[in-house]
């Protein structure tokens, strides 16, 4: 039913052309399971909660004049209803649910297109009276993305019309010569470009470009977190690195790429690429997570990546994959897909529980104390819940995971004039134009990826396969359809020929566990190592330690071998130790201090995305080196 354009991002230019949900299907393996849970549990869970906490009811309350007293949730609560609508559009056959939610939303739209339940009605603050914190344009952004998804996946419907009326209202209100403000939380920018792409209406692109150019002019107040929090400190094209609130920074960058691509603004595109490079080199966690500060949900300074205080918000992970995807489409550079893979397996996949009904908001890399299980039926007040929680007072993450998983197949592959490019590996089928490919793999548990050509044009074409950066130094091979086997290194491996139906190409990526060491400039993890197996980051969890000991008792002997354990685990050589009781934790280096001998043991490590599934525990990704 979904057409070839059923995908969130459809650039008018760029190196690669995306495929739609009608062209790529995930048929099995890791992501198929995650997507099944998303479709059968998470979407209903989100709708249930938003009914329960009143965020859906807000629209009716607005229409019925009760909003002053009855409004529930934070100022941006509308946006989560829109994100759920977007997820439902990508997910498949949910027209009745979409129609019911759309009907509620429609009631609240005012004649001039304004739509928002937090401002502007009697007893509320006036419209646009608090652009820094009000999130009105941010909410439109998600409305527009939902409307575009509806159009592309299901055909234009009522939601698309509502979104377009809102977009027209935004262009009238915030166009050149009118209100010259910007929203404290970017999101409208990328959404307006996508609406331009979906409709061809130039004014949406112009408005998005205006919002991008206005940012960094010190329009927003210099409050407690400073202007960098809103990325209003420096113009987008002058910035050198992502900074401030991580989700805001990444959504803004995504919008800037979209504008740059559509307007042919190579300078702007290059600016975002530079910022991305600097951020990935110096401000990104091993998991791909971004954001080191709880206080302002923000990037830290260079190399400030404390594992215990990692915020690494799930939404920042989603935003990072959105940005990487846009940069990949624009440039074809496989580095963007490398980071997306890392983030998908270690942030996006970490957030939801196996049953799809609870979520991490922040994704710490080190938990020192056992937390308590959030009540199963209770909203969690804080991002810091120690286990996944069913819902949050600020609950941006569940619906963001839902829409990402629903649209995930479209991130697997692209096409261009030369052929097909594979970026992410999953058991999948691709059918586009003259091409049909079957991909069979148990990735990431196994690194063998077999591509079978089922349909092919008669002329020669090129199949490109990303060789992930994590495979550097491994014995990675590509076996082409003639049976010729050649070593490959990170980047892009290609096979160009006149394929015949039945041809098989096999990429072999050894997913053996490897010790990872951090840059010496990252103070917070000096003297530690981590373990990665393929793209998957591992961690030690107290549940697997002898006697369920605190994970901080672990010391690692990284000169010994890592071995595959049962059930996707890895066994590392190491010891547990108990430092002596001490009355003061700093001592002269020349002082001899007795310490009990470490107890050697094999340390069982589990994939980081699977931690906290067995009750309260302590956990660490970076493990201290013995001695």
């Amino acid at each position: 039913m979904a057409g070839p354009l059923a995908t969130p991002v459809v650039p008018g230019r760029g190196r690669l052309r995306p495929l739609g949900l009608g062209e790529v299907r995930i048929t099995g393996g890791f992501w198929a399971g995650r997507r099944r849970t998303n479709a059968t549990a998470t979407l209903d869970h989100c709708r249930y909660w938003m009914e329960r906490v009143g965020w859906i009811g807000n629209f009716r309350a607005a229409a019925e004049g009760r909003i002053r007293h009855d409004r529930r949730g934070r100022e941006f609560a509308d946006s989560d209803v829109y994100k759920l609508l977007e997820a439902m559009a990508w997910d498949g056959d949910r027209d009745p649910e979409i129609a019911a939610l759309t009907e509620a939303v429609a009631l609240a739209q005012e004649p001039d297109g304004y739509l928002g339940t937090a401002y502007g009605r009697p007893g509320q603050q006036p419209r646009y009276s608090d652009l820094a914190w009000g999130h009105e344009l941010y909410c439109y952004g998600h409305l527009i993305q939902a409307g575009v998804a509806q159009t592309r996946a299901r055909g234009e419907g009522e939601l698309a019309k509502i979104a377009r009326r809102a977009a027209d209202h935004v262009c009238t209100t915030f166009g050149a010569g009118a209100n010259d403000g910007i929203c404290g939380h970017p999101e409208i920018e990328t959404a307006l470009v996508e609406l331009f792409r979906a409709t061809g209406e130039q004014r949406y692109l112009d408005q998005a470009a205006l919002f991008i150019e206005r940012r960094g002019q010190h329009t927003l107040a210099d409050g407690e977190f400073g202007r960098a929090y809103f990325q209003d400190d420096v113009p987008v094209r002058e910035a050198t690195v992502f900074r401030g609130h991580a989700v805001r920074a990444l959504y803004l960058a995504a919008g800037a790429v979209d504008v740059a691509v559509e307007t042919g603004d190579d300078e702007l595109l290059a600016a975002v690429e530079r910022q991305w490079e600097a951020t990935v080199a110096r401000r990104t966690y091993l998991t791909g997570g971004m954001g080191s500060h709880h206080r302002d949900e923000a990037f830290g300074d260079d190399h400030v990546l404390p594992p215990d205080r990692a915020y690494s918000e799930t939404c920042a992970g989603v935003a990072s994959t959105m940005l990487a995807w846009r940069l990949l489409l624009a440039t074809g550079n496989p580095r963007y897909a490398d980071l997306a893979e890392r983030t998908l397996f270690n942030v996006v996949a970490t957030s939801p529980s196996p049953d799809g009904r609870s979520f991490f908001y922040a994704n710490t890399l080190h938990r020192r104390t056992r937390g308590t299980v959030p009540a199963p039926d209770t909203e969690s007040p804080r991002a810091q819940s120690s286990l996944r929680a069913p819902w949050f007072a600020v609950s941006c993450c569940p619906t963001n995971v839902a829409r990402t998983l629903a649209a995930l197949p479209t991130q697997l592959a692209t096409t261009d004039a030369h052929g097909i490019q594979l970026h992410q590996y999953a058991d999948a089928e691709i059918t586009t134009g003259p091409y049909a490919l079957r991909i069979r793999t148990d990735y990431p548990y196994d690194g063998t990826v077999t591509v079978t050509v089922d349909r092919t044009p008669a002329h020669p074409w090129t199949l490109s396969l990303r060789v992930p950066a994590w495979a550097r130094g491994t014995a990675a091979w590509l076996t082409d359809s003639t049976g010729t086997r050649r070593p490959v290194t990170p980047g892009t491996a290609t096979v160009t020929r006149a394929f015949r139906p039945g041809d098989e190409i096999t990429l072999t990526l050894p997913v053996t566990p490897r010790w990872i060491t951090p840059d010496p400039r990252i103070d917070a993890v000096r003297g530690t190592v981590a373990v990665q197996r393929g793209p998957v980051v591992y961690c030690a969890e107290s549940t697997d330690l002898p006697g369920d000991r605190n994970v901080d008792a672990v010391q690692i002997t990284p000169d010994g071998p890592l071995e595959d354990g049962p059930g996707g685990t890895v066994v590392a050589p190491g010891a547990t130790t108990t430092p002596p009781a001490d009355d003061w934790p700093y001592h002269p280096r020349d002082e001899t201090r007795p310490a009990p001998a470490p107890q050697p043991t094999g340390i069982v490590l589990v994939p980081y995305h699977s931690w906290a599934n067995r009750g309260p525990s302590t956990m660490r990704v970076w493990l201290p080196v013995e001695g």
Copy 2:
């Protein structure tokens, strides 16, 4: 002029009896200079700023019915005026200034004793309508401390009467059977006990005991920071460690010690001692600083002591010395004086600039980026100013430093039935009862302390001298008045005899610089060393590096010797290094990565309390070990 009781804490019981400002004079050296600056610059600076920002004017505005529109500052602004009044009382001849400020305060007191400019008048929130955040009782606490200081140092005056009326109002309003609330910020507890000590009025002690017992009963709301923030999570006598907001935790503990001492509640005293032991062993910075979180100004979990995110608020340092002093008086245990010394030299002495007109609010142990100089005449909005700032929107620290330095001589020594005890070393003179001692030292630059007995009773008595914990492993000696020299170890060294005028006792503490290593459980400083010389912690500052390089370029070779450099500096063997440019900061351990050779150099280290006096710089206390 000041009498023997001119000191902030005068317990009715306990192991040691404090001396007053009339009994101890600091005559030269480190603290004499700091106190001179405090007296000649800081006190006037604080009064100037509080006139300028309107905090003194609030009292007049309240009296004149203008407060609704004219009030300035945060809800606790009154308290800083009271802390300045306390500092002025201890400082000496400031009666006219005290009278003028007191007159302003007096105007605002209501007939029933209520005194506060933030609540209760037309257009303001009602009195005591927000005990969690309103700080009304906290402000009374500082008012009462100022009143007691006035009484003890200058003789009872108007301020003491105002304080007593306020205290009576508190006892009426919050006594047994009345409002059973507690203040979100402890302080009233210790103040009421001191008022009991100064007046003999039992109801003040009873009220303080009530406040202590009420805490931990979940009276205050479970807000964003949780109840531990207010220490309202667990009753004081059941807690095992300090937690939550550091200043609140320490003020509360000080009040609990005061109540325990006066009521003979040894169980309560022991509970606080246990909490102190646990906190010093696991939640205290090398500097003595307390508080690891910026977000809630709070203690972290055990061993969570990140140097870069150290909050180590100046006021928490002050509060820690207040608590240590009370515990020392109650128990005689020199460990309390050890921590006080460390905190005085490395937190309290770090906050003010050499001119006494700007202050650190937070005392980080690692600054990665050069900050900007705060405008000399501007209020700083944030605790995170990179250099000392002249004033803050929340400006608790300057007045807290001022009152601490003004009363500092009283922390040097005590007396008991057996003689005199010296706890902190400074060039000083002590005259109390039949004793007169002269102390000559250049401590902490030099570790030789010579005590000359100028007046002595005829019978034998004991002179006790604290041997600091930092002297463990050094060749420390005590030479008594007979010329006999014996080695001493940390704790208390004593000389008991029938002294004669002119007798000299010399304590020799070698203040050679030493490498310090951290407990392996402190993740944030694994693989680093620090340098301490006597009680003084050192740091590397970019100003002293070749080419003014960022301090994060430093690597240390801790097997080499530390040497005294010029002007109180230390020279450490080490190197500077530039890690190669890198596109991703995590790499397989088995991967060979080229790196430029470190450039060997002597690293100049300066006392931590003297950093940031030479313009914007980067700084670190914990230095990475080479290789």
